[in-house]
Symmetry: C2
Subunit: 376 residues, 2 copies
């Protein structure tokens, strides 16, 4: 009999939503059933109390509530940002990176052809993230881009940039007049002291950066759909006009607010009880990551990420990422993701997601080890 | 003491969500709290059972479930359609119409300047809807457009096109190779026999039309956020390639599915109990519309809509819509919407929304009458 398939593929949460956060969702549903508490359309930018709570609880007041735009998720916000940027811009992306930055740039008409050999789109600046540079590109040595997408902790590498690295990034973007779109969707997984959880911890970031964020991985909200984007008032276009004003126009014209039920859940997330529940959930996934990391290190692999992130990124030492994907799928019945799926720079790596039930993680590790031992 | 303000302005539902539909929402929340029923990311196109139920219950099988894309609302879908259409198209809109068609065309870069005198954007075909043509534009006599936006029952006029008129519209679009974007968000308000609730009731529509729709006004879901768009497989671009394939790509790249909680509510809407609840809600708003309509007719106004729609559109017989808006606001403390807000063709009209609690409707009508009598 074939073993059951274990998925360590897409970064989809598997643990149920904890009690307090769940009560925020169900409380919001109840309100809609009562004429005295029923509400219809809300502000496209999100409920005032949620914007305030995000600013105070997650940013310690580093940003103003009016700079927070609540949404139905980071992916959708990236597209709305692209709608604002238009087709006449050059974008830079980490290579490898979350595919949505490149996909939406292509869709928006910013790019030329896909070059056969390099597997890179013409018109995109690929910022190489390799084991050699600790997955931190030397942005200053690369061509200037109008928009720089940067995800930290990174998907897929699992590596979080430190304060020095982010300071350098912010400085380069400011010098060049680039807008930095900082994707902080995995920020709550940062447990190391001194590693910034928001780009706005870096001086000067409010003059060059937009931060995209999400409740998806915080609280098991991947299917619930809640995110937010911070656009500082200090951020200006080259002509001195306000980026915030334009993004506000995009949001109010093309979006009608996140679901009021879901925003009720977001409010509960940011209560002290909710924050404690989120911490426990993240502990669980980080323990998963640790088990995966140790298993592969014990087998002699070079492993990145997994400390401040729910992903581990395994170097195949020159091996093909699709071959290794197939090997693990066929011989271990475990689904992973080939690094090449995140851009040409991901070739030679495999991404494993720690979003899985514990027994699945343990079972997968057992199979990996047996497979490894059988080939010694 | 000033009278309390009554809002007959924006079309926002005011009645609570009925019991069975509410149980669909709360049941979906409960599922997320239990490991055995928890779900994360769903299909970007929507849950299979919901797509099936929409196709069978709302379209009597006229369309295939795979042609349904479930979303977080019609406004967002219109923007996603615009993303697919790109900047190099000419759009036609009813004048007056729901402002989002023009706003997103402008945002997408399809238009030129706003002409000072006509208040029309260069590059948009305005299809005049006037009392004289029964609010049905003579599309064949107007310049060809690549995309024709058509809303019926119409917002703001409240007029629903009949089968003959829609057949003519479909025929013209097919002859000209125009894509018809049919906005059917108010379809459930149609109570008259023989008036189509979907464009797909018209022969040939599957070869030229996309239908945008929404649960917002069905079930008090304006803040809950659930809609859908139907893109038929038979619809092709000029080069013969599939529009469905392209829209599927837009949805999967730029959207992550409607909230699973909200889709649970959508499933309950389409149960027999849910459909009965929706009917009662719509009866309530249609009775409101009738009260408003009769009140203004009794005062000698010419009134349109209100029979198959939640809006009534009042002719001011040459008067300014902003002046009348101000008069009603200042003298009656009632908020309405000036027709001019829906495009230049709305000048000389006032839109009243029937989405209000009954006592608000009765109070507003009392004040309108007193104001009218005081000026006799």
């Amino acid at each position: 009999m074939a073993d059951r398939l274990v998925s360590l593929g897409i970064g989809d949460t598997t643990q149920p939503i904890p009690t307090h956060i769940l009560s925020g969702l169900s409380g919001a549903v109840e309100k809609l059933g009562d004429a005295s508490t029923y509400s219809g359309y809300g502000a496209e930018q999100g409920m005032g109390p949620l914007r305030e709570k995000i600013a105070s609880k997650l940013y310690n007041g580093l940003i103003d509530p009016s700079e927070v735009f609540v949404s139905d998720g980071a992916k959708c916000d990236i597209m709305r940002l692209q709608t604002m940027f238009g087709y006449d811009v050059v974008s830079a992306v980490q290579d490898p990176s979350y595919p949505v930055y490149v996909d939406t740039s292509v869709m928006q008409g910013q790019t030329g052809e896909l070059e056969e050999e390099s597997r890179q789109f013409d018109g995109i600046v690929y910022m190489p993230c390799t084991a050699e540079n600790n997955f931190m590109p030397d942005v200053a040595s690369l061509p200037r881009a109008d928009i720089v997408y940067f995800c930290s902790p990174n998907n897929p590498t699992g590596v979080a940039a430190n304060k020095e690295q982010l300071t350098e990034l912010v400085n380069v973007c400011r010098e060049r007049g680039s807008i930095l779109v900082f994707d902080a969707a995995y920020a709550p997984f940062i447990r190391e002291e001194g590693v910034p959880k928001s780009i706005f911890e870096i001086p000067g970031a409010k003059e060059c950066a937009i931060e995209v964020n999400s409740f998806s991985k915080y609280a098991g909200f991947t299917g619930v759909r809640l995110g937010w984007t911070v656009v500082p008032h200090d951020l200006k276009w080259a002509d001195g006009s306000s980026v915030h004003t334009d993004f506000n126009r995009v949001m109010t014209t093309t979006f009608n607010g996140a679901s009021n039920i879901v925003q009720g859940g977001g409010l509960a997330c940011l209560d002290d009880e909710g924050m404690a529940e989120i911490n426990s959930l993240i502990d669980y996934y980080l323990e998963n990551a640790q088990i995966l990391k140790t298993t592969f290190e014990d087998m002699g692999y070079k492993v990145f990420g997994g400390t401040n992130a729910p992903y581990i990124f395994i170097s195949l030492e020159g091996g093909s990422s699709w071959d290794q994907f197939n090997t693990f799928l066929e011989e271990c019945q475990v689904v992973t993701i080939p690094g090449a799926g995140f851009g040409p720079g991901g070739e030679g790596f495999l991404r494993l997601s720690a979003f899985a039930p514990r027994d699945g993680i343990i079972e997968a590790c057992k199979r990996f080890k047996e497979n490894y031992d059988s080939k010694k």
